[in-house]
C-alpha cells in the first residue's frame, strides 16, 4: 500500500531531486546566476563552512553563509561588472554524483552528493572537491532549494580566491 511517504521516497522523487541538482550545476557552470536564484525557497540558506564539523553555522565563521538577501547581493556583485575577480572569473566544469538520500520528512528530501569542480583561469586548472548536501522541498509543483551546504574537502587549508559560485 502506498502512503504519502512512500510516494515521496519513490525512485521517481529521488530521480527528480537528482535532476534538479544537475540542472543547478549546469546553471552554475554557465554562470546563469539569476536563474539560479529562482531555484531557491525564500527561506533558503546557502553555506560554505570552514569547520568540517560545524552544524550551527550562525555561531561559526564560514566562507559563505547566505540568506536570501546575501544570496541576491552575492549574485548582484558577480553580475555587476564592478568586481574584477567575478568579471574575469575562472571557467568551470563540475560533475555531481554519488547521490544518497537522508531524510524523513513528508515533503522535503535531503540529498547528499559529491562534487568535483575544475576551474580554469590564466592557464591553470584548479580542483575544488566537496561534499554537497541539498535540501529540496517538493510541496509545490516546482522543487525548491531550501538549503545547500558545500563542504570543501580542503576547507581548513589555504584556498585561492573563488570568483564563481560553488
Amino acid at each position: 500500500m502506498m502512503d504519502d511517504k512512500n510516494t515521496l521516497f519513490s525512485p521517481r522523487t529521488f530521480a527528480r531531486a537528482v535532476e534538479f541538482i544537475w540542472r543547478e550545476a549546469k546553471l552554475l557552470d554557465r554562470k546563469d546566476y539569476r536563474a539560479w536564484l529562482d531555484l531557491w525557497d525564500p527561506s533558503g540558506v546557502y553555506v560554505v563552512p570552514i569547520d568540517p564539523q560545524a552544524t550551527d553555522f550562525a555561531a561559526t565563521l564560514n566562507y559563505a553563509f547566505d540568506d536570501r538577501d546575501m544570496r541576491e547581493k552575492r549574485v548582484e556583485r558577480m553580475m555587476s561588472g564592478y568586481s574584477a575577480s567575478a568579471s574575469d572569473a575562472a571557467r568551470t566544469v563540475r560533475a555531481v554524483s554519488r547521490f544518497t538520500r537522508s531524510n524523513d520528512s513528508a515533503d522535503v528530501i535531503e540529498v547528499n552528493s559529491a562534487q568535483v569542480l575544475v576551474a580554469c583561469k590564466r592557464g591553470v586548472a584548479t580542483l575544488f572537491a566537496a561534499d554537497l548536501a541539498h535540501t529540496i522541498a517538493f510541496d509545490n509543483d516546482e522543487p525548491r532549494l531550501v538549503r545547500k551546504v558545500i563542504r570543501l574537502i580542503d576547507s581548513t587549508d589555504t584556498l585561492s580566491a573563488i570568483g564563481f559560485l560553488l
Binding site: 560554505v48 570552514i50 569547520d51 550562525a58 555561531a59 561559526t60 565563521l61 564560514n62 566562507y63 559563505a64 553563509f65 546575501m70 547581493k73 552575492r74 548582484e76 556583485r77 555587476s80 564592478y82 568586481s83 574584477a84 575577480s85 567575478a86 574575469d88 590564466r122 587549508d157 589555504t158 584556498l159 585561492s160 580566491a161 573563488i162 570568483g163 560553488l166
Partner: protein, 302 residues
C-alpha cells in the same frame, strides 16, 4: 632492559634555540634572535594604536573567533602595501560597497575627502592609515545615532545591557577606524588581524583572523562574524578582488623587471605630526614608503 635503538646524543645543542618571547596587549611576538631589540622598542610608535585597536572588545577581552586563509600568486610586499593603501578601496572594492548600505559606504570612504583622515609613518617599517576618524578611539562617543542596520541588535542587547554598554558594543562592531601595519607581516586592520606568510617570491598566504568579545553577547559576536564573512576570505565580497588586483600586479611586474616601482604619491605634501611622525594625506603612499625603506635597509644588511 635499556633501549639501544637510538644512540645517546646531546639534544640541547640541536634544539637549544629557544625563542625570545614578548607580549603586548595580549599579542605574542617570538623571535629566534636573542640579540633582537626589546619588543617595546620594536613596537615603538605603534603601541598607542594597538591600545586603541583593543578597545573594540567593548569592555570584554578581545578573542580570536575563527579565520579565513587564502593565497595569491604574488609577492608578499604587494599585500604589505595594501594595508595602508586606502586609495584602492573605492575602486577595487566597488562591488562590496554597492552591497552595503549607503550610510556605511559613505563612512568607510569618507577618507577620500575628510580632513581628519591621514596616512602616517610610525618608524621601524610600521605605518598607519586612518580611514574612519570618528571611530579611532571607541571610548569617544560622538553621540551619533545607532546605524539603522544595527537597530534590531541594539534593541535586543538593551534587554541585558545598559544603554551605555549597548552603544559601546554596537559602535565597536566594525572595529576601529584605522589599519595598523606592523612590519613585516602583521596588520591590525579595523576588525581583524592579518598575518602574511611568504611561500615564495611569487606566492603569499594570508590569514584573516576574525575577532570577537570574549564573554560578550553571542548575538553581537555573530554580527561580527557576518561582517567578516561579507568582505574577507576566498569567497568574500572583498578579498577576491584584492587578490585579483595583486595577481595582475605580479604578472605585470614581469613585463619590466628592471622598471622601478614608484611609491611617490604625496611625497611633496608630507608634514610632521606633533610627535614628529611623518604624515600624509589618507590616499598617499607614506606608509608604503616606510615599509619599503625598512625592507631595503634589512636587505642591505643581509
Amino acid at each position: 632492559m635499556s633501549d639501544t635503538t637510538y644512540q645517546s646524543i646531546d639534544t640541547s645543542a640541536l634544539y637549544g634555540r629557544a625563542q625570545r618571547v614578548g607580549v603586548y596587549q595580549g599579542l605574542i611576538f617570538a623571535s629566534f634572535d636573542h640579540g633582537i631589540e626589546p619588543l617595546e622598542d620594536f613596537l615603538g610608535g605603534t603601541k598607542p594604536w594597538i591600545d586603541l585597536f583593543m578597545k573594540q572588545g567593548a569592555g570584554f577581552p578581545v578573542k580570536v573567533n575563527g579565520e579565513h586563509k587564502f593565497k595569491f600568486k604574488g609577492n608578499w610586499k604587494i599585500q604589505l602595501e595594501n594595508t595602508t593603501d586606502l586609495y584602492h578601496f573605492p575602486v577595487v572594492h566597488k562591488s562590496w560597497m554597492k552591497s552595503i548600505d549607503e550610510e556605511t559606504a559613505a563612512a568607510i570612504t569618507s577618507f577620500m575627502t575628510s580632513e581628519k583622515a591621514f596616512c602616517r609613518s610610525l618608524g621601524n617599517g610600521h605605518s598607519l592609515a586612518v580611514l574612519v576618524p570618528e571611530i579611532v578611539d571607541l571610548d569617544d562617543d560622538d553621540g551619533a545615532p545607532i546605524p539603522e542596520r544595527f537597530e534590531a541588535l541594539a534593541a535586543s542587547l538593551a534587554k541585558e545591557y545598559s544603554p551605555e554598554q549597548v552603544r559601546r558594543i554596537v559602535r565597536s562592531l566594525m572595529g576601529v577606524g584605522f589599519n595598523l601595519n606592523l612590519f613585516p607581516n602583521l596588520a591590525l586592520s579595523m576588525a581583524f588581524f592579518r598575518v602574511l606568510r611568504p611561500i615564495s617570491a611569487e606566492e603569499t598566504e594570508i590569514r584573516h583572523i576574525a575577532l570577537g568579545m570574549d564573554g560578550g553577547p553571542d548575538e553581537a559576536n555573530r554580527v561580527r562574524l557576518r561582517i567578516h564573512e561579507h568582505f574577507q576570505g576566498p569567497f568574500g565580497f572583498g578579498s577576491p578582488d584584492d587578490a585579483e588586483a595583486w595577481e595582475r600586479v605580479q604578472r605585470g611586474s614581469h613585463a619590466g623587471p628592471d622598471v622601478p616601482i614608484l611609491v611617490n604619491r604625496g611625497l611633496n605634501r608630507e608634514s610632521a605630526a606633533p610627535n614628529g611622525e611623518k604624515t600624509g594625506h589618507a590616499t598617499d603612499e607614506t606608509g608604503m614608503r616606510e615599509a619599503y625603506a625598512k625592507w631595503r635597509a634589512m636587505m642591505e644588511q643581509a
